[in-house]
């Protein structure tokens, strides 16, 4: 909201400068977004008299002037304006001044060889208007040397942001009250004189919806002459960013912006029959003052007569009955509307007006009569005419809020000790009534004050919130203990492990295009889809971490990145058929491009393969505390993966901890990705919690005897999976076999068709005594037997 210092001065008697007022407004919680002070912007520009004007010796279009600035010797100034002439008065900018229109700093210079000590300015250069033909011509009586801002009586303009809890500050008067309470002057609060009615009001008014419109006051003024409003009023409205229209319209805007109190003036000639506040009928239409036509429904409150709707109550007037230059008789309406009803209608119709903002936040229900009198007085003053009696329908809700206040609460909640008499004085200056027992009555214009904490805020902000001293939080005794949960620790650990392994952490949107999310949902769930997405690209809550990373990979590859190792840790979102929501901590990895660039030692560039994805999955699961040696590689990674180059890592047959592998070519195509792309997704939420067991590890007891390594080469049917053979061998002798490692896989020459050779090394750990040949043979037999069960035979 904008208003000028001059306007403020109509409500506040103060000596404070604009800067002091702005600082105090900020301190009071009325945030000053901008202070536009012409005295600052126009510093260095003053009224000057042209003494002589002579042609420039070097340039046809320029003149050399001598200018009286009101102090010292006249200055020589080069000027290009045709209207510059001896004897005229204009505006001179001296060296050091900044031209408001273009930010140019004036300085002493030579123009085509002639010294110039300043600039005679145009209206536009000073941003005083659009006029740019020639320099400003001031009246003959303009005092030479006077600052231009002072000459034009340009007043500083404050642009403030009013928080939604302060409807009283939606008018200059309320802002003045806050400033006065904070000691920055005296509120001009003289009683508003009532204008006696000269005749009975000829119009019947009524409210048919006491809930939506509890009170509706009105009166007629006849014999008015509409025309421009006085200059001061126009200037005030311009400072607030409003266009002056006519006296009858300007006075209502003045009431709205000056007192936060919207009202409406109808052209009486265009009304027929009683004027009624009622609910609209379904489909009823009104052409509003913004030139748009609105179709109303039965939830919306209107002001109507026998002919139809004339006003969307509390939101916007109608074009039909609006006042014009020819208007002679008017009906003044001032009503109280239910804030919630106004808000709902405003939202439905999509109208943001000054009136709506004020009614929605809550206007002063006690200001109907005074508001109407103020309006009447101004109209009679500016437009003449005579006023009828005031007619009133209904009564505004004037229930008072009374709070039992304990002034000690200011210290307990606000942390600042304010003497009781100061607290009382602050509240009283703000309009509260404070009884001797500290029963505090809230003024009607402060719907936000409903409890003791609100009163503490009033006292503290007026007393000065900057006077609160820091007080250390009490420290808990003893030594600090971890404050992060196991899940948080896992997340941190895995994140740093991934980074240490060479993966780069990305943070991607939680929402995806529907096409990217498709097919990635967890089985039995559907994705959450936004009703009002900001765009189609950000619509579906990610059911997997992979699509977002694939989109990022695509952008990077398009930018020419040769290799990508991206990961992200975050939530994936799922919606169960019963509507319940699950957000699960997940880690996604995407590997694309070159695993290794071409090199002098390694030859051609090498791409990633599914084993790289497996390696990341296993390493990161291990860091996350999963029992990786118990995991089995199984299938069913999902349709997004290459069916023959992907798998799941499971704990038992049902608990899937991760999926990994090469992505399906169809997915690559959908994401517009070239070349094989590997991915892994770790379901960190599925990792079973480890039972916490102190810090000490089991005692260290290295085996006394050297382990023995034995190699076995098997011929197995091609379909047998290496992992199954290793598991079988491992299980052949659980006492002696401590590790089995597959070190060779071969098919081709020397291996029968349909078979392959798998070679494993088996690490045997003798327990109590060294192995005899007989024991070793026994173990070997068990290993071979285990292989035979899978259709393997020992290779001769």
């Amino acid at each position: 909201m904008k208003f000028s210092a001059e306007w403020l001065a109509r409500h506040l008697d103060t000596d404070a400068s604009a800067a002091e007022i702005a600082a105090k407004l900020n301190a009071l919680g009325i945030e000053v977004e901008e202070l536009d002070d012409p005295a600052v912007a126009l510093e260095g520009f003053r009224v000057a008299e042209v003494l002589t004007a002579a042609p420039h010796p070097q340039a046809d279009r320029l003149q050399v002037l001598t200018v009286n600035t009101g102090e010292g010797e006249p200055l020589q100034v080069v000027c290009g304006a045709a209207n510059a002439r001896a004897g005229m008065k204009g505006v001179l900018g001296v060296a050091g001044a900044t031209v408001p229109a273009n930010g140019m700093v004036l300085r002493k210079s030579a123009i085509r060889g002639v010294e110039s000590n300043g600039m005679m300015c145009s209206v536009r250069e000073l941003q005083l208007g659009d006029e740019h033909e020639g320099i400003i011509e001031l009246p003959d009586d303009a005092p030479v040397g006077m600052a231009v801002a002072e000459f034009f009586r340009s007043s500083p303009v404050f642009d403030v942001s009013i928080t939604p809890n302060r409807p009283d500050c939606m008018g200059v008067h309320g802002i003045a009250r806050d400033l006065a309470a904070a000691g920055l002057g005296t509120l001009k609060d003289a009683p508003i004189p009532a204008v006696p009615g000269a005749f009975p009001c000829p119009v019947t008014i009524r409210t048919d919806d006491p809930a939506g419109c509890p009170a509706f006051f009105a009166r007629v003024i006849r014999g008015v002459t509409n025309g421009p409003s006085p200059r001061w009023l126009q200037q005030a409205l311009i400072s607030a960013g409003q266009r002056p229209i006519s006296a009858l319209v300007d006075v209502t805007n003045y009431l709205s912006l000056g007192h936060g109190r919207p009202a409406h003036v109808y052209d009486l000639a265009k009304l027929t029959g009683p004027v009624v506040a009622r609910r609209a009928t379904a489909g009823e239409e009104v052409l509003a003052l913004n030139g748009k036509s609105y179709t109303l429904d039965r939830s919306m409150l209107v002001i109507a007569d026998d002919a139809g709707v004339h006003d969307i109550a509390g939101i916007m007037g109608g074009e039909e009955s609006s006042v014009t230059d020819g208007t002679t008789d008017v009906l003044l309406e001032i009503a109280y509307f239910d804030p919630e009803s106004i808000g709902a209608t405003g939202r439905k119709l999509g109208i943001a007006s000054d009136a709506r903002t004020r009614f929605e936040r809550g206007v002063d229900p006690a200001f109907l009569g005074d508001g109407l009198e103020l309006l009447t007085g101004m109209i009679l003053e500016f437009c003449g005419g005579e006023a009828s009696d005031v007619v009133r329908a209904g009564t505004p809700p004037l229930d008072t809020v009374v709070t039992a206040f304990d002034p000690q609460l200011t210290q307990r909640l606000g942390g600042v000790a304010v003497p009781e008499d100061e607290q009382r004085a602050i509240l009283e200056r703000l309009g509260f009534t404070v009884a001797s027992d500290w029963t505090v009555t809230t003024p009607t214009w402060r719907p936000d004050i409903i409890g003791p904490a609100d009163l503490v805020e009033e006292v503290v902000r007026v007393h000065g919130i900057d006077r609160i001293e820091s007080v250390a939080l009490p420290r808990a005794g003893g030594v600090a203990r971890p404050t992060a949960t196991p899940a948080q620790l896992t997340e941190r650990r895995v994140r740093r492990a991934a980074a240490a392994r060479g993966l780069m952490e990305a943070v991607t949107w939680s929402f995806l295009p529907a096409s990217a999310a498709e097919g990635f949902a967890t089985e039995g769930e559907t994705p959450w889809v936004l009703d009002n997405p900001i765009s189609e690209d950000l619509k579906v809550m990610r059911p997997s971490l992979l699509p977002g990373l694939l989109l990022a990979a695509g952008r990077n590859l398009a930018r020419g990145a040769p290799a990508l190792r991206l990961f992200e840790i975050g939530r994936r979102y799922g919606r169960s058929p019963d509507g319940s929501s699950a957000e699960r901590l997940t880690l996604g990895v995407v590997l694309a491009g070159d695993r290794q660039p071409r090199g002098w030692a390694s030859g051609k560039a090498q791409g990633f393969d599914a084993y790289d994805a497996k390696a990341e999955a296993l390493a990161l699961l291990a860091e996350a505390g999963a029992p990786v040696d118990k995991l089995q590689v199984m299938g069913d990674a999902g349709p997004q993966f290459h069916p023959g180059q992907s798998g799941t890592l499971r704990l038992g047959p049902n608990v899937v901890l991760a999926r990994f592998g090469a992505l399906h070519p169809a997915v690559l195509k959908a994401f517009d990705l070239a070349g094989p792309v590997m991915a892994a997704e770790l379901f960190l939420d599925a990792i079973p919690a480890r039972k916490s067991s102190g810090f000490a590890k089991p005692a260290y007891s290295p085996p006394a005897l050297q382990p023995v390594l034995r190699d076995f080469a098997f011929l197995v049917p091609a379909a047998v999976r290496a992992g199954d053979l290793v598991r079988a061998v491992k299980g052949a002798d659980k006492v002696n076999i401590v590790d089995v490692r597959l070190f060779d896989q071969f098919s081709g020459a020397g291996v029968p068709e349909g078979q392959k050779s798998l070679a494993v090394e088996v690490l045997l750990q003798p327990q109590g005594e060294s192995y005899t040949e007989a024991v070793l043979t026994g173990i070997s037999d068990k290993v071979v037997a285990a292989g035979v069960k899978l259709g393997a035979s020992l290779r001769g």
Partner: protein, 373 residues
């Protein structure tokens, strides 16, 4: 002269030649041949040694030292030559094995931690020292937790300021399911679950339907909440000062408190922090009122509204406290110098490499919670 004398004389003469031969041996095999010729079973010095056996004791006593010295001389010379030849061979081998070490070594990819994660870790560390635990809550949230319980009932004008993303689903506690617009619902959830007293921070993703140069529809916030019996605005001020001083590792952080309005706090306080312009960039520190300085809006805070405490299942006459919310991305930008919020969520590896952190930049209190450039 005896035969032996002759033999010895001949040996003396030949040893000089033999040593010359040893020293001239070109390689280990030539040297071995000489050794065999001198010291082997049929070798000339071995033959001389054998003559000792046939001598009379006196003569042997007289002769033996010279013959043994002869043998010693020869074997020493052979050993010396062998060492020399082996050394030369090793030299030659090493010379042959020389590598051009300006050739590039195998490259290990460099991983990074995203600045948002880094800053969240830093915040957790700082607040852990102040006794705050880290709490979390859902992002797909119930209208009641996001608004109603926070003193923003249906039709509250402040709701309109939140640019909320909605889902079609009806929420269990009324209204619709939505994406949380702030981390404040975690206040309510944590109070309901854990009661009081309480000190938590709640970092996480939040969402507003807003997108321009300085706003993204998803961003990160951290909520702070202290509930106890005697907590007041002075504690809030101290906590924020302490946190910001620790976070920016500067003692000259100056805060300016301004009254404001949030439905879930009363009194409500907007907090500005003083900055100086250094090379056109805002650097936090110093009073914003000083020449060349300014104030920057940093966060919203206040004393938790008693209606919120009530909705969270606590007795507002017994428990009170403060809450604050601050943008994590914003903190990251102010500390580490990024200037475009949108780049945070693009996944551009060049940006991640430039602004990302080493895995080993884990913030710790002893090392300071910042990772220096």
């Amino acid at each position: 002269m005896t035969d032996t004398d002759n033999l010895a004389a001949a040996a003396d003469a030949s040893i000089a030649a033999a040593i010359a031969q040893i020293e001239a041996a070109a390689d280990l095999s030539a040297l071995e041949a000489i050794r065999v010729a001198l010291l082997g079973k049929q070798g000339s010095i071995s033959a001389l040694m054998k003559t000792l056996g046939a001598m009379a004791p006196e003569e042997r006593q007289a002769r033996a030292p010279a013959i043994q010295a002869l043998r010693q001389q020869a074997s020493d010379a052979i050993a010396a030559r062998k060492t020399a030849l082996e050394g030369a061979a090793l030299e030659a081998q090493l010379a042959a094995e020389a590598l051009d070490l300006t050739l590039p070594a195998p490259e290990a990819p460099r991983g990074t931690v995203h600045p948002v994660s880094q800053v969240m870790d830093e915040l957790a560390e700082i607040f852990a020292d102040l006794g705050f635990a880290v709490a979390t809550g859902p992002e797909i949230e119930d209208d009641w937790y996001n608004f109603t319980a926070l003193n923003m009932p249906e039709s509250h004008p402040a709701r309109a300021m939140h640019d909320t993303f909605y889902f079609p689903d009806t929420a269990p506690k009324g209204g619709r399911m939505l994406l949380r617009t702030h981390t404040s619902p975690v206040q309510v959830r944590t109070m309901l679950a854990e009661g009081a007293p309480l000190r938590i921070i709640a970092p996480g993703r939040v969402y507003r339907s807003d997108s321009d140069a300085t706003h993204t529809p998803m961003f990160h916030q951290v909520e702070g909440l202290v509930i106890d019996r005697d907590i007041h605005l002075g504690h809030l001020k101290w906590t924020l000062e302490t946190f910001l001083k620790a976070f920016f590792e500067r003692d000259d952080i100056v805060l300016r408190l301004r009254p404001s309005y949030f439905p879930f706090t009363e009194p409500s306080v907007e907090v500005d922090v003083g900055f100086a312009l250094v090379d056109g960039r805002r650097v936090l520190g110093g009073s914003g009122d000083a020449a060349g300085h300014g104030w920057m809006e940093l966060l919203g805070s206040g004393m938790v509204n008693r209606r919120v405490i009530e909705a969270s299942g606590l007795d507002p006459d017994e428990w009170q406290g403060f809450a604050f919310g601050v943008g994590v991305d914003r903190l990251a930008m102010l500390k580490y110098g990024m200037d475009d919020l949108r780049a945070f969520f693009d996944g551009d590896v060049r940006w991640l490499g430039h602004y990302g952190f080493s895995a080993f930049d884990q913030p710790t209190l002893s090392a300071g919670v910042g990772a220096r450039a």
